[in-house]
């Protein structure tokens, strides 16, 4: 491989932001036809590096070579023209426009008088969509597509030029398994055309499945490149965080109390049907399933954000009606939502105000908010959850993902809930903080909270749960205890294969 010309080579890239050295002398190269994984914890500088490559940010020092030609890219368009295409993690599509318009945004084909050449536009787009093997055409409105199909539109953008290097930033974050297969086909197709691919992901199994080499960043510094075939998860993790990771099953069992929450035959239209389960005090119940299986929707129903169309919710044996989050909080149910930044926190507010947000009505001294009471609550949970922040005045948006999640958890613990629902507790949180959050969840259960954990990551579910509910397309397929569950049976259950067929 050494005699090949790299399609893309970086040399000593330095990028500084006020007060931060986000990239510190990063060098690596991508060969034609290789899938090169870029890994690192959150904040390690992956996104910054990719923005530099995509022409969105300019490096302060260092050089970029495309096929050994020194190149300066000042805009995303320029980068694309030179053959470097960046597929964003967060969808950047205009949902009122058609698929075709989105794919060719900024470079619509022209006729005279600045008119759009619709015929050519649709023809070219359908040709690209055909190679992607998707079930929609050029004239579909993007807003009508599922998230996964929108991701496909994003990918189709890369195919409008003859790319030399394509950067995928966490492309599978919202894809189902079947859609992943299509994506991987696209990637191997690009590979066979000699395109270099940079693949960013937190998911180890994908990395080991499709990549050739792995480069690791830590704290803005380049830590080394490994050949995927000669390494294992352990080594990569060590390189990323400087220590190895525990992926074992949950072994500890502590005293369990009465049933705290029971759900009987709960349905909500087409989202999920006839769901029954219960969770006891001191127990962690895991919900595992594919994206779209209805897990989050159940959590939202329990928290009063959706109205169920049938079924009962019982708290401590009493039937309750939960019509709004206010009812849910009053009944001792708390939800740590999936989208931490969008639904869980007010990013522009400080740590203390975020934590006391649901109860600030009660924390008053005369007509004013009582600062002292608020700070007391913040201090208590900062110590209890080991939240690392310079002080309560710190704006939450500046904290790391793990600490942000702890603020959300602290916020709900301070409301003294009985049932704590945690949706995707470690999404977008780096490997090191993950196990910390896992330990925290186990601790909370040990203290007598009933905890429901929703997760799409199998190691996480295995690691924290006493029991696991497997869901498939809106239905509960099977329930496992942590002793009987195996990876195989769990995968079968969430793929829609019933237990008796397996046996």
């Amino acid at each position: 491989m050494t005699d090949q010309t790299p399609v893309l080579r970086l040399e000593d890239i330095v990028k500084t932001f006020p007060g931060v050295r986000a990239l510190d002398g990063v060098s690596f190269s991508v060969l034609p036809g290789e899938v090169h994984a870029l890994m690192g914890e959150n904040g390690a500088g992956k996104s910054t590096l990719m923005k530099v490559l995509g022409g969105i940010l300019q490096p302060n020092e260092g050089r970029i070579f495309i096929e050994e030609e020194p190149t300066v890219m000042t805009t995303p368009v320029q980068a694309k023209a030179k053959g470097v295409v960046f597929i964003h993690q967060e969808l950047s599509l205009a949902d009122e426009l058609t698929v075709a318009e989105n794919i060719w945004l900024g470079e619509l084909p022209l006729k005279s008088f600045g008119r759009v050449n619709w015929a050519k536009l649709y023809e070219d787009t359908n040709a690209i969509l055909k190679t992607l093997n998707v079930g929609f055409d050029a004239k579909t409105r993007v807003g009508d597509l599922s998230i996964a199909n929108q991701q496909m539109v994003e990918i189709a953008r890369a195919l409008t030029v003859d790319p030399k290097a394509v950067i995928f930033d966490e492309p599978t974050a919202s894809l189902t398994d079947a859609e992943k297969v299509v994506l991987f086909d696209v990637i191997s197709d690009l590979q066979s055309k000699g395109v270099g691919i940079i693949y960013i992901s937190h998911r180890m199994e994908e990395i080991f499945k499709i990549t050739d080499r792995i480069s690791v960043l830590r704290d803005g510094q380049y830590r080394g490149t490994l050949n995927t075939r000669e390494t294992d998860e352990e080594e990569v993790t060590k390189l990323m965080i400087g220590r190895s990771l525990d992926l074992s099953r949950n072994e500890s069992h502590h005293e369990m109390g009465d049933v705290a929450l029971e759900v009987r035959g709960l349905s909500c239209g087409k989202l999920y049907q006839d769901v029954s389960f219960n969770v006891r005090k001191g127990e962690v119940l895991g919900f595992y399933g594919l994206v779209g299986a209805g897990r989050t929707e159940i959590a939202e129903t329990l928290f009063g954000l959706r109205d169920p169309s049938a079924g009962q919710i019982l708290l401590n044996g009493q039937e309750v009606r939960i019509k709004s989050p206010i009812d849910a909080i009053a009944n001792g149910i708390s939800l740590v939502p999936e989208d931490r930044k969008g639904q869980g926190l007010v990013l522009g507010m400080n740590c203390r105000d975020n934590m006391t947000l649901p109860q600030v009505d009660d924390l008053t001294a005369g007509p004013f908010v009582s600062d002292g009471a608020e700070i007391a609550i913040f201090d208590q949970y900062r110590d209890k959850l080991d939240i690392r922040t310079p002080g309560w005045r710190q704006t939450v948006g500046n904290l790391s993902g793990g600490n942000q999640q702890k603020i959300v958890i602290g916020k709900w613990l301070s409301m003294r809930p009985e049932v704590l629902i945690v949706d995707e507790p470690t999404r977008g949180i780096d490997v090191g903080s993950k196990s910390e959050i896992h330990n925290l969840i186990r601790d909370l259960a040990a203290q007598g909270y009933a905890v429901i954990v929703i997760s799409s990551e199998m190691p996480e579910v295995l690691h924290v749960s006493d029991r696991i509910v497997a869901m498939y397309s809106g239905k509960v397929m099977r329930e496992f205890t942590s002793d009987e569950v195996t990876e195989d049976s769990l995968i079968q259950a969430i793929s829609g294969i019933t237990a008796d067929k397996v046996a």
Binding site: I56, T75, P76, V77, K80, H88, S92, L93, A94, D95, E96, L97, E101, N102, L105, G106, E107, L108, L110, F113, G114, R115, V116, C268, G269, K270, L271, E300, G304, L305, R306, D307, S309, S324
Partner: protein, 330 residues
């Protein structure tokens, strides 16, 4: 076009039909005049009266699809009107006889375009929100109007001009032709050209547009120049006939234009909207004004009713767009 978009874009026209039926029936009981509401001449007059706000509303549609807003159009309208009428009294213009007319039109249209360009440049170069920028220029431009002639009206009647403005071609008044012509050109602009499609993209997802290499600032500048041009075109059409402008003329026009645009279904947040639906919105408002007048309601009542209907329509729109009981509460 699928059923959904048909419903969305047809709603305003259905509303117009309902209005026509209502006022025809109510008019036959309540009307103070003998003539029927659906009288052909009455309808032609209605179109003519829609023109001043209508032409501005068409431009406002593009600005709002962009995700911006322009509050200064009323003042731009008044200042253009003053330039139009006053320029014809300048000595060198008077020496030109009737040839002064096209030149006066050019002066007036240039005024609007330049005022629009000032708005656009400030929005582009400072990055300040268009609402704030045009709120400032609304006050500023209105100040210019008062500086020109104090509290005095500016008047100049040119009979050739009046004849032109009052002419009817194929039954339609000059003003109506301008309204329909502007609507056709802008519809072509928004649906057929790259500039128009980029306007939707910018309003819908500005970051995506920037990442795709669309130059958002210059794009805004063009659109503000366009709406400035249209505001003065509206003034040219109206004041060619009336021949006298008060310094307070055109006040609240920006709000009427926005009302028509919103009634036509354009999203306040940008990214969605249609020129044709705005035309429907303009006609619907004018119908309400005329129809309520026809059945004997006074101006205050008319405004109250239009306000209530606007809120009712937006509420209905929200309900229609809900996904039923499964929806996440917010």
């Amino acid at each position: 076009m699928n059923k959904d978009t048909l419903l969305k874009q047809g709603a305003i026209w259905a509303f117009i039909v309902v209005e026509l039926i209502f006022f025809s029936i109510a008019g036959s009981y309540l009307s103070v005049s003998d003539s029927a509401f659906m009288d052909f001449d009455n309808m032609l007059l209605l179109l003519k009266q829609s023109a001043p706000i209508g032409i501005i509303a068409l431009g406002m549609t593009i600005i709002m699809i962009n995700g911006n807003i322009d509050l200064s159009v009323g003042a731009t309208y008044a200042l253009s009107a003053i330039i139009l009428l006053d320029s014809m009294t300048w000595p060198f213009m008077q020496a030109m006889g009737d040839w002064a007319i096209p030149l006066a039109w050019v002066f007036a249209l240039l005024t609007g375009t330049i005022l629009g360009a000032i708005n656009g440049l400030i929005v582009w170069k400072t990055g300040v929100d268009a609402f704030i920028v045009t709120l400032g220029s609304m006050l500023g431009y209105r100040g210019l109007v008062f500086m020109y002639n104090g509290e005095q009206p500016t008047s100049h009647l040119n009979w050739t001009l009046v004849d032109f403005a009052e002419a009817q071609f194929l039954g339609l008044h000059t003003a109506t032709w301008f309204l329909l012509g502007a609507a056709l050109l802008l519809w072509l602009l928004m649906t057929k050209t790259v500039h128009g499609r980029n306007a939707y993209a910018i309003g819908n997802n500005r970051e995506a547009a920037v990442n795709a290499g669309i130059r958002v600032g210059p794009h805004f500048l063009w659109n503000f120049m366009l709406i400035g041009f249209l505001a003065s075109l509206s003034a040219v059409v109206f004041y060619s006939e009336s021949g006298s402008v008060n310094p307070n003329d055109g006040m609240l026009y920006e709000l009427w234009a926005i009302t028509a645009v919103v009634l036509g279904g354009t999203k306040l947040t940008g990214g969605y909207g249609s020129i044709i639906s705005t035309l429907g919105g303009v006609i619907a408002i004018q119908l309400l004004r005329k129809g309520l007048g026809h059945i004997g309601a006074d101006t205050e009542t008319v405004n109250l009713v239009i306000g209530l209907i606007l809120i009712a329509v937006l509420f209905l729109d929200r309900q229609l767009n809900r996904k039923g009981k499964e929806e996440l509460k917010t």
